[in-house]
Amino acid sequence: MARSAFKTAERKNGSLCLGEETVAFLGRKIGTLFPYFAFAYIVSATVQIIIYQITGKILIKNLVYSVWEILLLHQSGINVFRWVQGDWYISAMLIGMLFIYPFLRRYLRTYSYIAAPCVVILYMGYFSKKYGYLHVTGDWNGFVYDSLIRAFGGMNLGIIVYAVAERLRNISFTRLGRRLLSVCACTGYVSIFVTVFLRSKGAIDFIWLLCIAGSFAITGSGAGSLCRRLNALDSKSFVFLGEYSMALYMNHLTCQHVVKRWFSSWDVGKRIALFCIMGLVLAWLCVFFIKYVKIFWDKYKWHVRRLFLEESR
């Protein structure tokens, strides 16, 4: 999201109408994310209603109070009933982007080079002092959720990373240099997943965050030889991977209710395998459901519009 905000802010020029542009940007983001959320919401609510036999007043109450979840506002702190577990990040990022985008759009370089680093430094200092680690998902600090601050800090870090990636993109590297960049990026990703876990959680989190930021700057620049090889391939199947990852993130936690409730007697290895398979299949169904709904909507949207709206003259 930080990447697309940076790119949009960089691309646009001319007269500014920040309010409308910000709303339009968020509208596009919500338009991209919401189908995945809607699918996850419908499936998760249905599964939980069946499995836990939620009926009557409780069902109505849960559905009514989930309206803030549907509006993707639960990270604001409003009391909400949540059917989908993984959506807090979307809510936090959308709320954060409401503040970031106008400033990024109006003061792209100043924000990227001064404001974003300041925010990231303060965010890391705050988490380091208060928690000593980064894995915070819902603590209320009396004003906002700390997870909202975490997402806000994360997006600002993303903006810095993308600014660095833009700088790297404009540098001409030799073949050896490109290979070295690829090795650095891959080493960063691999070493994080190997070494990050050797110690208990703590201050080392922030070093790992720096590693992932560096690796991602190289990947985002496309300057490494591995990136260049990947980018030379047809994008179609990679676009599917990107869409599938979103579907998988939004939907896989729904499967926990099924596995925990109906397969609790299975041994742990089978439960894990079942959860993974169900998650992968559900995500696949989600991608194809959204694809065909979009095709249907593109075909019939004018018919639907004509039912409610007069044609403009």
Binding site: I90, F193, I272
Partner: protein, 59 residues
């Protein structure tokens, strides 16, 4: 127009798979580390790694 960066899509996919596996271990059966020899190590692997990155790479 700038070409799409396929490497980012690959990264998104890998991170989403890793999050799936993390939740399989952590949410479905927190005691599942017992199936691994020296399970504490693996438990820390999944808890810490995914705790940091969470879902931010998936979209």
């Amino acid at each position: 127009m700038r070409k799409r960066n396929n490497a980012i899509d690959v990264l998104k996919f890998l991170f989403s798979l890793l999050i799936l596996f993390y939740h399989a271990i952590y949410v479905i059966s927190p005691d599942s580390v017992k199936i691994y020899p020296g399970g504490g190590y693996w438990r820390r692997i999944f808890l810490r790694g995914f705790g940091i990155f969470n879902g931010s790479f998936c979209f």
